[in-house]
């Protein structure tokens, strides 16, 4: 038995679904951000698996994954800054209690 493209893609799909569940069903804003990181890692696995099995000589999937990683780092930095700023103002990071923009 050899490990093919489908194995990596199914692993990526399961990981993405776990992240999706976490992002939808959690109170704590930091845990939601961690779930989003898991989803981004799942997408990177899929991109690199496509790059390895479909165009091994091109490396374009890997370059896309590199950009995705950079943007994910930027997203985490800004997201955590927003969470800390909200915590300073409202003393909570419970996503259900952050309803400043709800009417």
């Amino acid at each position: 038995m050899t490990i093919g493209l489908e194995h990596y893609l199914v692993l990526s799909a399961i990981l993405f679904s776990i992240g999706l569940y976490g992002a939808l069903a959690k109170h704590n804003a930091i845990v939601i951000l961690m779930s989003i990181e898991i989803m981004l890692s799942a997408v990177n696995i899929a991109l690199i698996a496509f790059s390895r099995f479909i165009v091994p000589a091109e490396l374009t999937g890997q370059i896309f994954a590199l950009f995705a990683m950079t943007v994910a780092a930027a997203e985490t930095a800004v997201g955590l800054a927003i969470i800390i700023s909200i915590y300073r103002n409202k003393e909570t990071i419970d996503a259900n209690k952050i309803d400043l923009m709800k009417w």
Binding site: L15, G19, K26, V31, I38, V78
Partner: protein
Amino acid sequence: MGQVIAFWVFAVAIIGAALGVVLLKNVFRAAVLLVACFFGVAGIFILLSADFLAAMQILIYIGAISILVILAIMLTREVAFGSPSNKFQIPAFIIAALFCTGVIWAILNTQWQISSVAPGATTTSGLGVKLFSKDGFILPVEILPTVLLATILGAIVLVKDRKK
């Protein structure tokens, strides 16, 4: 054979760690399991012969992002409240399960055009040529520093104490 065993070890470790991140009540343990999950993803990258990406995964995700997440957990003192699920727990589970089944069904029912070309021994030089050559990806490489600069400025402005 060794690759098959390594794949299953990494896959089980990643999924177990990810489940721990979403299901554990303790936020701090969830953050530590997130690091384990990132390590497993780096191992999967090595199995996919993406050595440079695996090194970047360890440097950026484990070196930088996890430290940032743990710092944020410490700064917000929400550890005492844990990480409970909200009232959408069951709908969220149903949505995630439906999404997972749909995507896996699509993956298994597609005829992928697998290339038989063997991947190169190392990817670093190839990636460098692709990124910085004239007909490569030089424009995104020029744009990304602007994104990073905006991120740094935005993060500083957001966390600055305005009361003084």
